[in-house]
Amino acid sequence: MIPGTFAYHRPTTIDSAVALLIELGEDARPLAGGHSLIPLMKTRLASPEHLVDLTGIDGLNGIERSDGDVVIGAMTTQHSLIGSSLLSELVPIVRETSLRIADPQIRYKGTLGGNCANGDPGNDMPALMQCLNARYVLTGNEGPREVAARDFYLGAYETALAAGEILTAVRIPIPAPGHGYAYEKLKRKVGDYATAAAAVMITMAGDTCTSASIGLTNVAETPLWAEEAGRLLVGTKLDEGSIASAVAAAEAITDPASDMRGPADYRTKMAGVMLRRALERARSRAKA
């Protein structure tokens, strides 16, 4: 668990960071909190020759309201997400999810941008961002562009980031007031990846569901936005029959690996159980 040799760079502007990444090419990796990348390096599953640390760049931190979005700087730590009153008020599911990530020590270092950009299927934020229909701001030498979280993940550790691009901010559309939400995560212990997890956002009108969005964590090579499962709930009273069909639709799109967390069939079923429980909690929170 000794990493290979690498050079360390600490640019102070986005432009210089982008320039470095372009110049160094595939041998370079941006470094945010490091809690996914460094363990990979220590086991030599990743051996980048250059690390471009984004910590010294101003303007990548912070949470603010902008038009209809909450905009979160990529280097904002999980700890800051948890402490944000703006997020707690407008998008409380972010706080709920952050609190289920690792432990306080790691949350002091781990960032939203790193969690989203790394493409690790075990990370929690990607499925949540898909559930929330967030957009990622990717900055390269042509300036910033936006890509929807739902279009960003191509495979395990494969994303829509182009060479030299850095994920600099996340834009979350502010959900309707009174929405119901829940993030349910099954894990073996603190610090473990999810066996399966489900993010749920719903709105209710009376006892009828008017919108539903579902994200699933760590049950495929990428995070999953369970579009069909969400659609099956809209217009229903979230009765047992419609929940069962949504759960079945969500389970149908999973393709988990068998690992020490359990065999694939178990993990698929746990995605269903987590979804069912998240739906129950989201409904109890929704204000009609």
Binding site: I2, T43, D192, P263, Y266
Partner: protein, 809 residues
Amino acid sequence: MNEQVKIDLDRAERAEKLQGMGCKRKRVEDIRFTQGKGSYVDDLKLPGMVFGDFVRSPHAHARIVSIDTSRAKALPGVIAVLTAADLKPLGLHYMPTLAGDVQAVLAEEKVLFQNQEVAFVIAEDRYIASDATELVDVEYEALPCIVDPFRSMLPDAPILREDIKDKMTGAHGPRKHPNHIFEWQIGDKQATDDVFAKADVTIKEMLVDHRTHPSPLETCQSVASFDKVKGELTLWGTFQAPHVIRTVVSLISGLPEHKIHVIAPDIGGGFGNKVGAYAGYVCSVVGSIVLGVPVKWVEDRMENLSTTSFARDYHMTTELAATKEGKIVGMRVHVLADHGAFDACADPSKWPAGFMNICTGSYDIPVAHLVVDGVYTNKASGGVAYRCSFRVTEAVFAIERAIEVLAQKLGMDSAELRMKNFIRAEQFPYQSALGWEYDSGNYHVAMQKAMDTIGYRQLRAEQAEKREAFKRGETRELMGIGISFFTEIVGAGPAKNCDILGVAMFDSAEIRIHPTGSVIARMGTKSQGQGHETTYAQIIATELGIPADDIMIEEGNTDTAPYGLGTYGSRSTPVAGAATAVAARKIKAKAQMIAAHMLEVHEGDLEWDIDRFRVKGLPEKFKTMKEIAWSAYNAPPPNMEPGLEAVNYYEPPNMTYPFGAYFCIMDIDVDTGVAKTRRFYALDDCGTRINPMIIEGQVHGGLTEAFACAMGQEIRYDEMGNVMGASFMDFFLPTAVETPKWETDFTVTPSPHHPIGAKGVGESPHVGGVPCFSNAVNDAYAFLGAGNIQMPHDAWRLWKVGERLGLHA
């Protein structure tokens, strides 16, 4: 205030000042540990020190076609690359194991498990060493491997140990197959078979105590420094038994023992993992002898979990025979023991299966028969006692699970079944059917106290209601009540049956009182977190009337400590603790003579009073131990040698037999398989209690490791022999969040043969805890007809049980 009250108060105050036995004294070592001031092997920095790292096999079983070290040697900073070819001329490519086998230091012709050591790279820094391991080119020819021990002795099984394939007699008798290590039998087979043939009721269950790892937080490591001028070797390392390491190093290196200085500094947990000798130790020594500079080797986490000693992997076919009223009349056990690629179990030499023959447990079972077959597989070697005396966790698991299976078959409450079969208080000392003499116990009292405290009857009533509610579909939770009543066997041991490589398993203490009345004491044991610096001082404090704070305890330096066999198998208190009391009593006897001289009375006119000798009937005429110490050096009685010190090498007359009653209340979510421990109650009887707070801490630690083992911790292999999950990302090491809350309790039944009546406690909670958790899980599903559910009980496996029983919609 009347005179008597004043005297009593004065005595109480003096006694309290000593912080002797029975005092909840805070751990003195924690002052440095909690401030980051501990000094571990990896803290050692020596001038010119270089670093070693291993090239390891990716295959579980393969022939080595060639090893090319040229690219590695060409890397700047690389000093040397050792292979078996370098060690062979020195006779060091194999080393002896504690179990009478040999173990490859660096693989010669074949590798026998994944991550086996193939070459040792020495470089100027740790990073270069690691880089260079990737530049050693090893060509392998993969061979079919054996992962399942039940396949080891099949006629067409590949032969694993070609180095000993023609040697059909091993260290423990004849071998039935080239992959067979030993067969060990004990008990009366004929009488046992007869009892089974006639019994009203019998049960038979295959109980697996699966492979896991002790996983101390500090991994195994060493620094070797050879002084070419003096011809002396200093070896710092993570050694639970530093003197034994010194003797072994002397025997295999040919260096005279007095020129070897073995030092075990602070150790960050051992749990059996640091008893054996490892390739890294040997390679650091060879490296230092060859290069003349200090060589450091520090295992990383994955290496620790996948190569240095594992624990368990016992497959135990367990049978009980009983009358229809529930009196157990016989026990029969066959164990298939998977020892991995080399037999590197750390047991006393005459005990190839450790003390597995304690498997009759706490019960008066008239006849029993035990057979253990050890086999080789393509897995890492070991078989150490993970926080237990040798194979005692396995033994207790077998009997305590079997009792539950029998209770179910009889339709009897398992607590009642235990009560019915316990060895009765008046039967001690008790001769067990498999050869042990239990020293003392009071099992009925302990069990009753435990049942009353947790409210056992009410819990069963609640469980009955919950089961009905589950059947009606009103809850998705199952409630399990786990019971275990264990008897440990610790404190190895009497020389007649306990030795390690011929060295009898005594232990030692050397106590020296300085002229001003403070003390240094040294022992042959070695704390890895047990708190020896605190507790040994408390024994001396009570024995000699010197405050524990004035007593320094030192261990681990073989130049200064008396020879001892080290710390494992809960032997420190039973053996070195006894040596400490005996040495203290020798000092006290001399002190009494000195006091008599000082007070000008006859020795027989004196009596001991907490911290002083006083004249009988004249309590105002006394000499404190402190005053006596000064006189011992400066004004001893005529013809008496000055000084005040003693040493004792203690050979225990018997083992000690701690016991306890544990209860676990568990709620299991059938839809996820997640088990939550609602309550865990542990009553321990470890005889005389030296420090109740340390006992409580030991019980908490042992229970936490028991929880881990039962509920998910494992070293698993796929069918290709790839080790799975050998990092803390996957290996279940519970954090404070997952760990249940522990309730502790006790009874006190002193050991009749131990000088202070103490029995040892560090491992009891593990031994008793593992079956207790497993019994809770099994109990939860029992009413649904689940049959035996094997460990580990992680969520997915319990969910699979639910799946099998059709509990999921």
